[in-house]
Symmetry: C2
Subunit: 323 residues, 2 copies
C-alpha cells in the first residue's frame, strides 16, 4: 500500500507504531517494522545513554527494515540532556526520528546533516505549519482522541486531520482514535498519508506489558478514558481508573501538581504495566481502546488493517461511489 | 450514490441537512431536498401548531422529493405539547421524522402506524442501541465535534461512528465534524451509511440567517468553538464569542443557570442570526466550521460533496489500495 509516506520512509504500509514511553522497546519496534509498519523505539525509555545505544543496536539486530527513535522533548524528569541523546541517535546511524513535546528546532540542523527524516508529533495546525517551516519531513497530528497529551484545544481527528492535511505540503500522519482498517481508510480519505497508532500496538503480543492490562483494553469501551492534568495546562488522556478519578478529584479541589505527583509516579505506572493491576497507577491509553477487541501479533495486526482497508476501499466504497 | 440509507429514505445522496432550531425552515429543507439530500424542517421553529402545519405545506409545495420534520424533545421552553406536534406531523402526511433530545419512545407507536420513518439523533452507543430496540429506523450519532449538544462523554466521531455502526443493525448517520466530500468518504469508510450536517447547511445561500454570520463561519478555524453549560450537565458547543466566554466565566464561578439565562436567550440568538452581529447572542455552530470556506447554494454544495467523495474513492483511495 503506497502513499507519499511509505515512499518517503521506505516502508511497506502507511502505518506507524508511534513511540510509547516505557513500551517502545527494541522488541516492539522491530516487530512492527518486520510487519511492514514503521516501528518506533522511545529514547527516554532507556535510563542511560549507553542503554539507548545498546537498545538501538538491538533493534537493528532484530530487523533489517527501517525503524525510528522517538525523542520527546520537555518531559518532566531529572536532567535529561537532549543533546547527548541526539548524539547517540546520530552516531548509531538511525535514519528516522519521531519528535514530540517541544519543537525539534534546536536539533534540526544536526538531524538534517545526518540525513535523518524527522516525523514531528503535534496537536494543532499552527504547530504543524511551524514544523513544516523548520524542515520537518512528516507531521503526525494528534487529535483529541489520542492517548497521552492531546493539547488544550480539543479538536477531534475528524476535523483536525483534514485541516492539517490541507494546510501542509509535507505528508501528514493521522494520530489518535485509529485502531483498524476502517480508521486507515478514513484517514486516507481525509487527506492523510498514513496512521500513527499507539494504543493499538500496545495491545499486541509483542508489547512488553502485562497481559492483564492488554485484556483490560480489549474489554474497555470508548467511554473508559478521561482527561486529567487540565488544570496544569498539560492535559493527558488516560484510562479511567481510580487513580485517574482521584487525580481529577484533587484537581477539582485546586490541588497543585505536587499533591497529585505521587499518584502518577513512573513507579506506579511501571507497576500497572508489569503486574497487570490496572488500578496500580496511571495507564496511558486512547479512546481507540474502545475499538480494540483482540491481542494479535504485530504481523497479524498490520496484515489485517491493510486487508480491511483494501476491502473497504475496493468493495464497500467503490460500490457506493459507482451508483 | 446509493447506500442503505438512500434506499430506506428514497433519497438520491447519503446526505441529510439535519434539523436546526430557528434555521430549519421550509425553504432550507426544500432546497436541501431538491438538491438530492434529505432536508429537515424543525417543528419547534414554528411558534404555533397552525404555523407548523402551514410550514409543512409550504415545504411540500417547494419540493416533490422526500423531506423530514425534526422534533427535539425536552427543550427548555414554555409548555410544548409534543403530542399535538406529533399529531400535526402525522396529519400532514410527513413520512420522515428526525427526533432528538429525549427518547422518541412515547411517539413510536403513532409514528410507525402512520408509516413514518424515524431518524433518532443521539450521542452515545448505549442510547443508539436503545433507539434500535424501540423501532427507530436510522440512528444519527453525534460526535464530540458537533454543534449544539454533544452530551457529556466527549467521544470524537472518529471513534464514535465506527463503534455505533458496528453495534447497530440499522443504518447509522455520521453527525458532527463533517462538512465536505472528505468527511463523507471517511464516514462511509467508518461504516456509516451517510452524513448528517447542520453547520455546513447553515452556510448556504438558502439558510435564513444573515450573511454576516455565514461569513464569520467561513472565516473561523477549528479552534473557534467552545463548550458551555457543562456545569448544568447540558453541554453545548457554540461559536467562541464574547457571550460564550462570559457564560463560561459565570459557570466557572459556579453561577446557576438563572444567572446566564439572559445571555443565551432565544431573542439574543435571533438577533445574531438576523443582524449578522456574531456577538449579539449564543451562536450554535460545530467544529466543522473550520472546514467551511464558501457559501454555495444547497445544490452546489451537495453536488460538490458527492463529486469530491467519488473522486477521493475512485482516484485517491483506489490508487493507494491498488499498490
Amino acid at each position: 500500500m503506497k502513499t507519499r509516506l511509505t515512499e518517503l520512509l521506505g516502508i511497506e504500509t502507511p502505518i506507524v507504531c508511534g513511540g510509547m514511553m516505557r513500551v517502545g522497546t527494541a522488541e516492539l519496534a522491530a516487530a512492527a517494522s518486520n510487519a511492514g509498519a514503521l516501528g518506533v523505539m522511545t529514547a527516554l525509555t532507556q535510563p542511560t545513554l549507553e542503554g539507548l545505544r545498546a537498545e538501538i543496536e538491538k533493534c537493528r539486530s532484530l530487523t533489517s527494515k527501517p525503524f525510528g527513535v522517538n525523542v520527546t522533548v520537555g518531559v518532566v524528569t531529572t536532567e535529561i540532556n537532549y543533546d547527548d541523546i541526539v548524539d547517540v541517535i546520530i552516531d548509531s546511524g538511525v535514519k528516522i526520528v519521531e519528535t514530540a513535546g517541544r519543537s525539534p528546532e534546536p536539533f534540526m540542523e544536526r538531524f538534517k546533516s545526518a540525513g535523518i527524516k524527522v516525523i514531528h508529533k503535534c496537536v494543532a495546525v499552527r504547530h504543524a505549519l511551524k514544523a513544516e517551516r523548520i524542515g520537518v519531513d512528516v507531521v503526525s497530528i494528534d487529535g483529541f482522541e489520542c492517548a497521552g497529551h492531546p493539547g488544550e484545544q480539543d479538536v477531534g481527528g475528524l476535523v483536525l486531520f483534514p485541516a492539517a492535511a490541507q494546510a501542509l505540503k509535507i505528508p501528514v500522519l493521522a494520530s489518535g482514535g485509529i485502531a483498524d482498517g476502517r480508521g486507515l481508510a478514513a484517514a486516507l480519505a481525509l487527506g492523510c498519508e498514513g496512521i500513527n497508532m499507539g494504543s493499538r500496538f500496545l495491545v499486541t503480543q509483542e508489547a512488553p506489558i502485562h497481559e492483564g492490562i492488554k485484556q483490560k483494553i480489549v474489554e474497555m469501551d470508548e467511554n473508559q478514558t478521561r482527561l486529567i492534568f487540565r488544570s496544569y495546562k498539560n492535559t493527558a488522556r488516560v484510562y479511567r481508573n481510580s487513580v485517574a478519578d482521584k487525580v481529577a478529584e484533587l484537581e477539582a479541589e485546586g490541588a497543585d501538581f505536587g499533591k497529585v505527583h505521587h499518584l502518577v509516579s513512573g513507579a506506579n505506572q511501571e507497576k500497572a504495566w508489569s503486574t497487570g493491576d490496572i488500578e496500580a497507577g496511571m495507564v496511558t491509553v486512547g479512546m481507540s481502546g474502545g475499538l480494540i477487541n483482540d491481542i494479535p501479533t504485530c504481523e497479524e495486526l498490520v496484515k489485517t488493517i491493510v486487508a480491511d482497508a483494501r476491502a473497504i476501499i475496493n468493495d464497500r466504497l467503490a460500490a457506493i461511489a459507482a451508483d
